[in-house]
Amino acid sequence: MTRRLIVAIIALTLLLMLLIRASSGAMVNPFMDYESLGKWVAAVLTLCTLSFLYSDNPFYRFCEHVLVGVTAAYWMVLGFWRTIVPKLLANVVPEIPAYFFNMDTPVTVSLIHRLIYCVPLGLGLLLLVRLHPRGRSISAWTLAFILGTTAGLRLFGHLEADFMAQIQNSITPLVSVAEGGFNLGRTFNAFLITGGLVCCLFYFYFSRDSDGALGRVSKFGLWILMLTFGAGFGFTVMGRIALLVGRVEFLLQDWLGFI
């Protein structure tokens, strides 16, 4: 109890100091305009979230709940204005968005056009039937449509851009001769890429025991994989630090006005 009281007193003192600093004009005044108030809200939420690094606490959990609630509402509003209105209503009943939302839609839409767009509307409504216990089998039709189109779409994308093109990119001349001369750096790179590729493929070759020459090749492949994971981990650290830099910069520069 005493510990909580001490923490509360420290927090209130800090808040008071910040408000005095804000009123003196040294930092953003929360009562100046909505943008300034927004900066204060963002700063307080940032500090509450970062407080998890010390230990789990109610402030952090409050931030979690706020994030979930705001995200759900944001998606819902955006889905209505950027998908349902321009993509569905504007094609099925263009009069409604034109009249009610002052939207720039062609009102002379043919009946066939409207009927075609009724198909996704029907499939969407079927998906909502899932909410009823008896409607699960009916909503499966829509899910089947989504699965089928997604699979088809991804298949052609991956086949052309990943499978075929990646194999093509892997087949490169080992000796690089550029501008009439031998290029040692590029040649080394070509050997490294080709050798690494072959060794990694051998690492995943399980039809024979990995011993002797095959074992040594697959072990080199494992080393290549480990180096790749290490590089990936390094990039992850870099990304996380960049996010921290961004937040600290916001707190020190935009909120506190220290830098």
Partner: protein, 293 residues
């Protein structure tokens, strides 16, 4: 004999100390404004040269597929791309496939386009197509008909209305663009635009990605994706090239990534130091027989 509770408390205290050190390693260089000169890698040079080679009036699709969560890494890139494209006199077609992306487009328009390039007019020189849901399916539709994929702009003006949006006069599908620039914070992002737009449409694509997603993008460079900016470091290198080519951009808002690389570098050094210390302690404890193999 150390009890489990004491060990857990010790570890927690150690972890908090590391957090504090990392926070200090970021904060102190930021206050002292420590920054370093960057040297562009070939991948970043490729991106710069590709944008630099655009003719005046070139049509460029600028995709803002990121959110506030990835903003510290990607926003310096999108700002730098916008500045570079405006200096080249390109026509900008801004869009996003992320629901949180419209905010980022608005920020670039409000903070970069409008104040720095007042001669750029909405509808004639740039357009904000806003957010459209559908991920890669929308890209596949845009490959055949851009107007079908993006029926209205962010202000609900029909993209077929070329009187109000003359910039749309020259756009039929993805192939109508001279270049695609993708600022990628995750899915859908650069791989999707490469698979469904750049490769089937034969349009050159360059981009920037968050550092976490960069390793999976390297295999696409340079054949399917001309160049790539890898995280904040890539953004800083691009800013350095931009400042060298256009010295009039020597302003604080044009070197955001360069300024952030100071704290980033110091934090990296701190992490390397911790790894060395941690391994040193582990090895010494192992020698004394306090930890198992």
């Amino acid at each position: 004999m150390v009890s489990l509770a004491e060990l857990a408390r010790e570890r927690l205290a150690g972890r908090r100390l590391i957090y504090l050190c990392i926070l200090l390693s970021v904060t102190v260089p930021m206050i002292w404004k420590i920054s370093f000169k960057e040297h562009a890698s070939p991948m970043v040079k490729n991106v710069f040269d590709q944008v630099e080679s655009l003719p005046p009036g070139a049509r460029v699709l600028l995709v803002f597929d990121f959110d506030p969560g990835t903003e510290p890494e990607i926003k310096p890139m999108s700002d730098a791309f916008t500045r570079h494209l405006c200096l080249k006199g390109a026509k900008l077609y801004c869009l996003t496939l992320w629901p949180t992306g419209p905010v980022e487009i608005d920020k670039v328009i409000r903070n970069v386009l409008t104040p720095e390039f007042p001669d750029y007019y909405y509808g004639a020189d740039y357009i904000n197509l806003g957010f459209v849901s559908g991920d890669e399916a929308i890209i596949a539709v845009a490959l055949t008909s851009f107007q079908k994929a993006f029926p209205t702009d962010a202000h609900n003006i029909s993209t077929s209305d070329t009187k109000r949006l003359p910039i749309m006069k020259w756009v039929e599908n993805i192939r109508s663009f001279n270049l695609i620039i993708e600022c990628s914070g995750g899915y859908p992002g650069l791989p999707e635009w490469i698979r469904y737009a750049a490769v089937p449409g034969g349009v050159p694509i360059v981009g920037g990605s968050v550092a976490v997603g960069t390793p999976e993008l390297f295999p696409y460079v340079p054949d399917q994706c001309v160049g790539l900016l890898a995280g904040l470091k890539g953004a800083a290198e691009y800013e350095q090239l931009l400042l060298e080519r256009y010295p009039l951009l020597e302003r604080p808002e044009c070197r955001v990534a360069l300024d952030r690389m100071g704290p980033q570098t110091v934090a990296h050094l701190a992490i390397i130091l911790f790894i060395i210390i941690g391994n040193g302690i582990y090895l010494s404890q192992k020698r004394r027989g306090r930890v198992g193999t």
